[in-house]
Amino acid sequence: MSMLELKNLTKTFGSTVAADDVSFTIDKGEIFGFIGPNGAGKSTTIRMIIGALTQDSGSIFLDDTNISKDRHYKDNISYVPGDVNLWGNLTGDEVINFFMKVRNYKNTAYKNELIEKFRLDPKKKCKTYSKGNRQKVALISAFLTDAKLLIFDEPTTGLDPLMERSFHEEVARAKSEGKSILLSSHILSEVEKLSDRIAIIREGKIIETGHLDELSHITRIEYIIQAKEDLSKLDELPFVHEFRVEGEDTHVLIDNDKAHDFLQTLYPLKPTKLQTLPPRLEDIFMRYYEGGRDGS
């Protein structure tokens, strides 16, 4: 069932341990979110999968075959790097065509559809493209494939919200075709929206893996409240964090697994406005660091 399996991958650069015993599995037809702050080891892990780096120890299985024993495993991979650089003198169209030829993919109708969808002007030279446009060229090229595993490293930085949505739609479409997707990001909301499961990496180590709702114990949700009664006593509760008042609004962060307790406390205070903001990665890590301190 697994499309990609990483077993105990370790990679060091000098004295820095960029990936430390990294293991996870991506199932077939699954969108897997890979999150962590910049420099946590996301790109190092991905670059081992695509063969740019050789791991010091551990192994990688694609479709249950060790990639070191399969010279053609890259036929099943399509990849978009985080920082896309293209050939300045080639047009976007030429680059997309090049990757289609290399990947032996012939569906030009889908290509035209994607160009339309991402609103790319393909006749321009790559050196005149903005970062967002270069990203579009790479994304379009990556979707034009029969590969079973798509790997995106920070795919939406540089895309505007509309294009971000187009990207999400295409990811969902790839999933519906049975493809697996590895989606690396430091934006939790994006991963949360798309992913079936996630792994969190910090300082080279995987610290959590699982369904996001299983992981909800480590997240906090921000609530924005207005109420008829005095809200200040909320600040004293153990599951309420970063209490602050902004004009009419009161902002609080609530441990996700204590939502029930929080709402029960809130109800008697006669709330007139209740708005939630999705959890942010920083909040997760904040919680994590606090947890680490408590444990030590």
């Binding site: 063969g51 890259k74 790097p81 920082d83 030429e94 065509n97």
Partner: protein, 521 residues
């Protein structure tokens, strides 16, 4: 302007420092070396006679009148040749702080922070003037401190002023091109072409009639007659720098950022780039074409002087003797063979540039994107190696053919078309060796690749200087060229040819094996 200037300096000081050390060092090691090599006036006269022939005039300029002292010898052999280096210094730095920064969006960025156009242009100028002034001071100071006989203070000053103004001239020319042309590749390419074209133009007019050379700034350096007559008046033509500065400012002030006065809209049609080789060949088209034209020009310019060589060598017993060698062959053919050898070393430059291209892919992390597809890494490097060897050999072949074509009218040269072809064949194997070395170094580490360039530079110096100053043979043994026959004065020797070729292929294969295993940056 102070803030922008200090930021620019922090960004460029190291490169400037490297250039100062390199250029200053290269200039200052020569006088003591010359001083020991030719201690008597008779020896120097003999050398002067050697240099007074069309081939050498084409390389270093006309022989100055008056006594040929060590100092005059220094300025004669160095000034024009070092002009290329000083010019390159100006071009590289000017381009990096003008059009390149603009292409990267940095100029727009600092403009938005309230830095004015005046500050930007002013800072660029200050760097250009400052760095050349500094280099001039280093050279003047160094020459004066060494205090070698016949090196007068006035001559030292003139040498330093001449080279500094030459560097500044090309700095300013690049600034103008940075306004005219749409991208930094263009401004760099065109200014570099101007630097080389002025040199080649002077090379031919110096041989034919120096009156025509006056257009070329290199000739102004020759006319300074440094250390003999010290004609300061020939610094005046450099006053054109002031006009060029004014022009560059007007052009810069009157255009939008990222805009250009000359724009080219080439290939509108979508090209069909199906494979990695095709991708790279498209990307290297300009590089390969310009080098092939360059190789043809080198062949033509050498070939066109062969007619004058004959009478010249006959009149110069020193040279005739030097060129005769053990085999007792025709000295003229011997001389041509040496020129062909130097041409072959130059022909390896485009080959190394082609292998280096894969590192450009790697540095820009495009290699990572490419290798995430089914294209094997080793296949990519392998393509660069084979293409480099083919283009390297083609370049040598083209220069041989054009040398033959240009020398057809010359009498008394007993070299057939077949001989030229065999010469090209002869130097194919060291080209493969250099390419193989380059591939091995790329396979090991990007940082090591500089060794390939240093080795090529070394081969060039040894084989080029070897002709002029008769350098010790031990130095030549470290280059593959030493072991080959000097075609066409000798017949090709297949045994060393095959061994060198084999070593080259072996190095290349080792490079492929290493490259497959190492981490991609």
């Amino acid at each position: 302007m102070r803030h922008y200037l200090s930021m620019l300096l922090r960004d460029t000081w190291f490169r400037i420092l490297m250039w100062l050390i390199g250029t200053g060092g290269l200039t200052l090691v020569v006088p003591p070396a010359f001083d020991g090599l030719y201690s008597t006036a008779a020896e120097r006269e003999a050398l002067r006679a050697t240099l007074d022939n069309p081939a050498m005039v084409a390389l270093v300029g006309p022989v100055p009148p008056g006594e040929y002292t060590t100092a005059v010898m220094f300025s004669h052999e160095m000034l024009v040749f070092m002009g290329i280096i000083h010019g390159l210094f100006g071009i590289m730095i000017a381009n990096s702080i003008s059009r390149k920064m603009e292409d990267q969006g940095l100029l727009e960025y600092v403009t938005s922070a309230g830095i004015t156009r005046q500050s930007i242009f002013g800072s660029q100028l200050v760097i250009g003037i400052g760095m050349n002034l500094l280099l001039g001071t280093v050279i003047f100071g160094g020459l004066t401190i060494m205090n070698i006989d016949s090196f007068g203070i006035s001559g030292n000053l003139l040498y330093a002023l001449g080279t500094s103004l030459f560097g500044l001239l090309f700095f300013v020319i690049t600034l103008i091109l940075a306004q005219l042309l749409p991208a930094s590749e263009w401004s760099f390419g065109v200014s570099l072409s101007l630097l080389l074209l002025f040199y080649l133009y002077r090379a031919s007019t110096d041989v034919i009639n120096t009156d025509y050379s006056v257009i070329s700034p290199y000739h102004w350096l020759s006319r300074l007659e440094v250390y003999s007559s010290n004609i300061y008046a020939w610094l005046w033509p450099f006053a054109i720098i002031l006009v060029l500065i004014a022009a560059a400012w007007v052009l810069f002030a009157r255009r939008d950022l990222d805009d250009a006065y000359l724009k080219f809209d080439l290939h509108k049609k979508t090209r069909n780039i199906r494979s990695y080789p095709r991708l790279q060949m498209t990307g290297m088209k300009v590089l390969v074409t310009s080098w092939m034209i360059g190789m043809i020009l080198i062949g033509l310019s050498y070939g066109s002087i062969f007619g004058d060589l004959d009478s010249f060598i006959g009149d110069t017993p020193f040279l005739a003797q030097a060129m005769e060698g053990e085999s007792g062959t025709n000295p003229l053919v011997q001389f041509v063979s040496t020129l062909i050898l130097v041409t072959a070393v130059v022909g390896a430059v485009p080959a190394l540039m082609i292998t280096s291209r894969i590192m450009t892919e790697e540095k820009s992390s495009r290699l990572e994107l490419l290798m995430s597809t089914r294209i094997p890494r080793a296949a990519m490097l392998n393509f660069h190696g084979i293409y480099a060897a083919l283009i390297g050999v083609l370049g040598i072949f083209l220069s041989m053919v054009s040398m033959y074509a240009a020398s057809m009218a010359a009498e008394g040269i007993d070299i057939t078309f077949g001989d030229y072809v065999m010469a090209a064949v002869n130097y194919a194997s060291p080209t493969v060796l250099l390419v193989g070395l380059s591939m091995l170094l790329i396979g090991l580490s990007m940082k090591l690749h500089i060794v390939a360039w240093l080795y090529l530079l070394y081969s060039f110096m040894v084989n080029y200087l070897g002709v002029i100053v008769g350098i010790d043979e031990v130095w030549q043994q470290a280059t593959p060229f030493y072991f080959l026959a000097e075609v066409p004065s000798e017949n090709i020797e297949w045994a060393p040819w095959l061994i060198i070729l084999g070593i080259g292929i072996g190095l290349g294969l080792a490079g492929l094996a290493c490259f497959r295993r190492r981490d991609v940056a």
